[in-house]
Subunit: 328 residues, 2 copies
DNA sequence: CTCACACTTGCATACGTATGCAAGAAACTC
DNA sequence: GAGTTTCTTGCATACGTATGCAAGTGTGAG
């Protein structure tokens, strides 16, 4: 039923050995131009494609990048997915997409990645235990935490400089005369949430400005719900700092539902600068994460580690920039 | 560096043959409970995981589903991605995510899918040439067009009943007293766009209602831009039918920018019922595509075809339902 | 022409698993 | 207990490729 064309078939047609066929398709092997040409012609005629499984079996390598993601529905990560897929394809890698329901990456997911002997792994918004990270290290599989950190430098990580960003945001809000603030964080176990909280609160504490903190979950619904809860309290805060944009949109809609005018009655600042933040319906002031730069850093590191594994980890923080719009 | 534990190692420790180990991990092979237990214990102790590449090499099968997608940034497809990943994982399949930049799926992408000998393929919003579809058929790889059609029944397809849906929408708008309409389509080469146009226009033609048609691209920016173009004309249409929600949001924002009140001055109807359609900022009237049902149909077909390939194709159309909100 | 060297090629084998076959063990029938 | 059937197991081999090794080819220097 399925006529598999093997290197042997091509060899026969081209009048060479199977080894030579193999060498034609193997980067860096030594073949003469003449046989290369003959092999390629024969391959073309037969419709030969090297069998990735046989190849991976023997080389113990693959051209697959594992991409672990949870919040696909957050436009920020949708864009991240798109860019990673696009760039890795250019470099000849395919994407094994691993969706994690739970916050923490499951053992099952890790096994999948190990089973396919992925060339590298990008973990985006899923959290991961230390031991799982070690598992990859043990297998010499390069790993990057994208927009997350784990531990204290044991693993490679590419992030926005959340600390300085959230400090800037706090200072900006204070300069606008905000007096009583509300902070809405994302999943409290994530480094991004903790850092954005830390930088923000540091400044406020220092200036002895009162603030309330609410914990949410990085989703629109979460932001919306949390804002509703905030509004149950008597006092309307003078500004909201929301740990990501999609939650911020939920907050804005909740405020509007309560006929609270933005930015007159209160202000809202998000984080990410997703496309929607610039939509006329929201015009959200936010902090732009430099996605392209972050992705480039991630890809470069992974490709380098794939070529020659060192296991050296570094925490790379890129700045991004403040984007002022109409919610402040 | 990488200590690979093989079935042979497990066999030695368990005091059985490699074949027996293999049989323990192979669905449906005959092994006694006793040896099964011993093998599993030995495997546990050594940390054995069957090598997928060796397995695929010999069985000529894989546990990979290829998912081809373009508009990841459209929340509709983000949700589709999430659901497919989740469900296929439950059935023991991994997802090879293939992002296509171009409208049409590239030869390169097809080769990737064939190289990995995917168990099945789901093509969502990418268009595909007939010959490419035949390629999969030739290799007995089940293929589903999700929310798209190709040809006239040669390939399996799961769609919303676009024709009847868009007819209903037209009738609804007429019942609301709309007199001069605007239709904004998506990518004009896609079956969804053509069908939604056809159903809509059929009704209008029949009733001799005037309408203008504009071609756009299924994105927010496209919808926004197209609406701006529409508004350059002198007459404001009494209603817009926009071929998907994300474009419709762009249309709404464009209308608002021009101080046009919805639904008083004009009305807007979308298609998909993405989460954002229900957000207070938009409250978009739309047609709900029954994602869960469509996904279930797709998965069932694929799983059945994977178990036993027939190559029989069917066009499955599910109804969905009208969701009336505040833009009409 | 000889020798040394670089380059190219084929042979044989290995990667880790699945599976047909035959033999052995076990269970069951009469 | 003998005969029959079912279940279980090990042996050997195959899947399609990469690669060490040795042999072959060609090139250039002297």
């Amino acid at each position: 039923m399925r006529e598999t064309v093997t290197a042997k078939d091509v060899a026969k047609l081209a009048g060479v050995s199977q080894s030579s066929v193999s060498r034609v398709y193997f980067e860096g092997a030594s073949v003469s131009e003449k046989t290369k040409k003959r092999v390629l012609e024969a391959a073309e005629e037969l419709g030969y494609r090297p069998n990735v499984y046989a190849r991976s079996l023997i080389t113990n390598q693959s051209n697959i990048i594992g991409l672990v993601m949870k919040g696909v529905q957050n436009p920020f990560y949708a864009q991240v997915l798109k860019r990673f897929s696009s760039i890795f394809k250019q470099h000849g890698y395919s994407i094994l997409f691993v969706y994690t329901n739970n916050d923490e990456i499951q053992k099952e997911d890790v096994e999948t990645l190990l089973n396919y002997n992925v060339a590298g792994v990008v973990v985006t918004d899923a959290t991961m235990s230390f031991s799982v990270g070690e598992e990859f290290k043990k297998n010499h599989i390069p790993l990057v935490f994208f927009n997350r950190k784990l531990g204290t430098g044991e693993f490679h990580s590419v992030c926005c400089n959340n600390l300085s960003a959230s400090r800037s945001i706090a200072q900006y809000l204070l300069s606008k005369g905000a007096s009583e603030l509300v902070l809405i964080t994302g999943n409290e176990h994530t480094s991004t949430s903790m850092e954005r909280e830390k930088g923000f609160c540091e400044v406020l504490d220092q200036q002895k400005i009162a603030y309330r903190k609410y914990n949410s979950d990085y989703t629109y619904e979460g932001g919306h719900q949390t804002a509703m809860t905030v509004l149950e309290g008597k006092r309307l805060p003078s500004a909201f700092f929301v740990a990501n944009d999609i939650m911020a949109l939920g907050v804005i809609d909740a405020l509007r539902k309560n006929d609270i005018r933005i930015p007159q009655d209160t202000k809202v600042v998000g984080f990410d600068n997703i496309d929607m933040a610039s939509w006329p319906a929201y015009e959200l002031t936010t902090w732009e994460q430099p996605i392209e730069e972050m992705i480039e850093e991630t890809v470069n590191y992974l490709l380098a580690e794939i070529t020659s594994y060192t296991g050296l980890a570094q925490i790379i923080e890129v700045d991004g920039k403040f984007v002022e719009r109409k919610t402040t």
